[in-house]
Amino acid sequence: MAATDASGPTRLGKALRDAGFAALVAAALSFPILALRAEADMNNTLVLEQRWSWILVAAAAVGSARFFASLLDDWRARAAAVLGAWALLFGAGLAVFSRLLDRDALVWALGAGVLLLAYAWFQETRARPAPAAPAAAAPKTRDALRLFAIAATAAVIAYPIVLLFWLGPQGSLKWINNYGVQILIYVMLGWGLNIVVGLAGLLDLGYVAFFALGAYAYALLSTTFGLSFWLCLPLAGVLAAFAGVLLGFPVLRLRGDYLALVTLAFGEIINIVLTNWVDVTNGEAGVSSIPRITFFGLPFTAADDGFAATFGLGFSPIHRTIFLFYLVLALALLTCFITVRLRRLPLGRAWEALREDDIACRSLGLNTTNIKLTAFALGAMFGGFAGAFFAVRQGFVNPNSFTFMESATILAIVVLGGMGSQTGVALAAVAMIGGTEILRELDFLKRLFGEDFDPNQYRMLIFGLAMVTMMIWKPRGLVSNRQPSIFLKERRAVSGGLVKEGHG
């Protein structure tokens, strides 16, 4: 970092200029959002509450972050310095405004700030070795990834059992349901969408439509005709796949932005139909009292012919949850298995070739129409499976569960995970859905920010920040290595960062 030392003064000046500018922009941008707050007073007339200090805080936070980002080279140093500066600001804010006379918080904030800044200084000034060649590291990364995937699968299989012994049936219910089943549904949806978006490269903004179709297929077939879940599951998949082909046909000629728009519209159409076709779907009120899951015919009830009684166990609602957990795990693994196998078959390779360059595909004699349709159909089928599972888990469906937000979340999982990477998508689902659930747990923040502070409301803000951060540091997603699907002696992969995107 000799260059840094030589150009020290100019660099400091530049950092200060950058910081000042960023702070100005932040202040200007935050002015309409933060500075004025319209509120109804006692007489129910509108008064404007002025909150100029908020702008000051925003400008200081952004300015300090920009200052260190400009000043420092090492990313660890930058991150630590920014966090440290924020901690110091927070401490200063506590001291000045003394809204909370919480001496512990003050000590913690100042201490953390100083420590982080010290770490940043240490990181920045430390001599660093030249970065290793990325190509050489790639095979290692791949093996590590494979090991990780196996270990993670084993851990997920063991997860409910471990929790059950550790926390007991009562305590583990929430953890298995909210953190297990909920995440696995999204893992499965992510893997399903990954076929369409990640492998075939067809941007689908309406994936939730297939999820909805699967859910309503089970809900309506079971409540109207009394069909069992195990019969409805494949039916829901087939129905969704059929819808996928229906969607596929009109959009075959479209690419990129245009395709995305049509799929977005498709998702909305399905949602609107579900809302307005009251005779069939019961509209906003939804379909309720959907038959719950049974253990291959044995209901999870306290009755004598129930699951618990048959196996001589004491009745507990945890049995059903655990069964649901393993069911969705099996469905998700099935999705993953089929996708991984298909990638090594001509069809899967054709998907990837289509993503890379569809003109080249056609000139090689590949029927791109069929390739697109199979991708749509297969992706939709897994969405349908997940939907049927969703319906049997909830026991109730209505159109509000299938809004564009859901499509966006699933797409975000695929993009954050690294398009086409199974492990990456699973990791992203855990981070995003698990992260949402964790936000519900952060009650202690209420002590700091007041009773009406609800961390869950900041979910979208955090998603957005995560998205922007990822696009800066890992634009190809968490796992950006693409493994070749055929190989001679050993597999090799080149880091995705070295290769530019396909055109077409």
Partner: protein
Amino acid sequence: MSAAPLLSLDGVEARYGSIAALKGVDVRVDAGEIVALIGANGAGKSTLMMTIFGEPRASRGRIVFDGRDVTNMQAHEIARLGIAQSPEGRRIFPRMSVWENLRMGAALGDPSAFDQDCERMFAIFPRLKERLHQRGGTLSGGEQQMLAIARALMTRPRLLLLDEPSLGLAPLVVKLIFEVIRDLNRQHGLTVFLVEQNAYHALQLAHRGYVLVNGAVTMSGPGRDLLARPEIRAAYLEGGH
């Protein structure tokens, strides 16, 4: 001359919206020939290549390959009849390895012939064997062109269409590529129809040549005859080699 041509275009017109890119083009490619089509930027060379594959579709005229009218066929159907293309800008699959690219070329063929065909490609382009596991996008321009040709050859075509194989390549690499095309033609009897801006190399290589100006063929004849014509020299070789 007496036998039916392998590929013939009769009065082919193609348009992009209201703009006519090809205005009644007649081209004939006989089996075993190398035919070059030269012309300036925007003359319609690449459009002609694409029109053979039906994109854009010929709005008038007929395209016949091996006695079959392919004018209204889908691109992938045309490819299956035995026409392979190394498209303009090479269009290899950048994130797939060299081997996977070759595999895509053989997607329609007999899978058991794949290894054998691969070995043939490595004999022609030893560089590809060295780069087998590298991603297409990390290859140099010349290697990408080799890969594009090899990928097209993996379909075991009877007619190879090459759209500007020399585009953006160093002179030495251009020479190598053209030698390979000549060898393929001489040793394997492959019929080649290539579109080039590099008129000198293309006409030296080709048995016959066509000159395309503003969407119409203005001159045709044996490659060396065309090279000798003063108007060709003036228009396409001025200041060149």
